[in-house]
Amino acid sequence: MSEPIIQMKNIGKNFGAVIALSEVSFDVLPGECHCLLGDNGAGKSTFIKTMSGVHKPSTGEIFFEGKSLNLTSPRDAIVMGIATVYQDLAMIPLMSVTRNFFMGNEPTKKVLGISVFDHQHANQVTMEEMKKLGINLRSPNQAVGTLSGGERQTVAIARAVHFGAKVLILDEPTSALGVRQTSNVLATIDKVRKMGVGVVFITHNVRHAIAVGDRFTVLNRGRTLGTANRDEITPTVLQNMMAGGEELATLEGSLGGTV
């Protein structure tokens, strides 16, 4: 297998007296989908925030393409090619897909010596990038507000990929979606992975993770419970690990094994 794009070694993070993360190791290979699972409060968000430059780790090291990396801001991470699609997406519903796609990175051309927004180019790129991920837009000028939740996720993902993401961190992209939209987003993740991007897929839904994941890392109370390959694990084991083993067992008993 090829070299990891990003490697997080023994990452620890303390907020005052609270130990949010301790000794977490994690890496992402190009073209794989590495799922980060964990219950609420397990430290998933803190962990991806250290990866995307929001938090500085208290201990541990980050290597990017083999070189030691010291992230000081989210901007740094974006420049390196570590893109994060957060749950709130950073999309503006009233603006067109193209205007959202290029927000902050508008392509320009010179008209009579003055630089103007190159709408034609922008529309074309937007349509192409969306098509690559399997979404045929009615028009690049349609407002993002008219898109479904899944399509919005796809726009955000396509935007990150277009602007050079090598590692794409998706923070619970399926948590607010219905069944069909979820399957579309999972299909999108699959396509992005095939483009050679390393995907970090954060979720607490084991079924979603199993559907696209190549490797799985489970966090529990700020510690990693290990990383497993796809062929080494079953959904039930993952589910139990996430819930911390015994607690789920009692719960399962009372629910008659429906969880």
């Binding site: 927000m103 399997g134 399509e151 299909a187 396509k191």
Partner: protein
Amino acid sequence: MKNDMTSTTPEQPSQDERVKEMSGFRKALIRPELGSICGTVVVFFFFFLTARDAGMFSPQGVMNWSIVSSQFIIIAVGACLLMIAGEFDLSVGSMIGFAGMSIALLSVTLGWPVWLAIITTFILCLAVGALNGWLVIKTGLPSFIVTLAFLFILRGLTIFAAIASTSKTIIGGVRDVAEGDWLAPIFGGKIFTGFFQWMGDQGIIETFERGTRKGQAVVEGIPMLIVWAIILVIFGHWLLTKTKFGNWIFASGGDAQAARYVGVPVNRVKILMFMFTAFCACVFATAQVMEFGSAGADRGVLKEFEAIISVVIGGALLTGGYGSVIGAALGAIIFGVVQQGLFFAGVESSLFRVFLGVILLLAVILNTYIRRMITGEK
């Protein structure tokens, strides 16, 4: 997992199967200008029927409502871009009074050259605009409150300055001192005067039959006020729709946090838009002072609301992020044509305010409906 979700696979149709049903009518509705285009047509049609005989569409009549509309347009362009960027400026009216008084005091009372008075005033206004914007950004208060404070501060200062220096609230004599000045005609002059005189001589338009101006055309030329209005509309529309900065204006008003997240300099955009609004108010004031030859401490009262109403009639959302400069200009034309048209039609002028209130209400209701349609809110 299917990797082909295009419409060629009917068993897994693409996500937009439902929104695809959007009719052409609904599509047209979400263009911000639509309401104001219809409004303009209706208004012209109405007055063409009712006020044509009163001379509303004679050269003089056209010039009359064009000037009034142009005044509204000038301040509406500024208010429009600012509103799309997500902020309000309620100090526009007071800024007009302040700028006019500043020009008159500096040139007439202090004896400065008029061009210097005008340039100094523009710098002052831009500084106040920047201060407005800076306060809004730094305090995080609604711009409504911050600029409401400046509505009173600027008006008070204007009256105080006029009374303290000349013990009058109206300062005249600007026209005399502006004689021969190079900058004043840019605001108070007229263009194409030769062409209009020629049209008068040829009998295409009427000429004065008696009096001191006998033989001159009834319309001397196109006032610079109208030229400014046209330039500002073209500039504003171009800036908003054709440039990178325009995208930032939409983004700042649509969702400032999301815009910041992708690197849009939201603070800079908003402060610049406050300054642009101040610039527009200053253009209005300068043209008015040059036309009247005087400045009054009470000039521009309620202009901020007239600007905002024009913008709202033009289809912009009060909450920001959506709107059109062309729409705002049409809103201003509706405003001007109705105000003058009622006069030509001989309707009691107080009814104008009733009309204004009604059309404002309708516009806001329509805009809210359109917003729901775009964003899919219920």
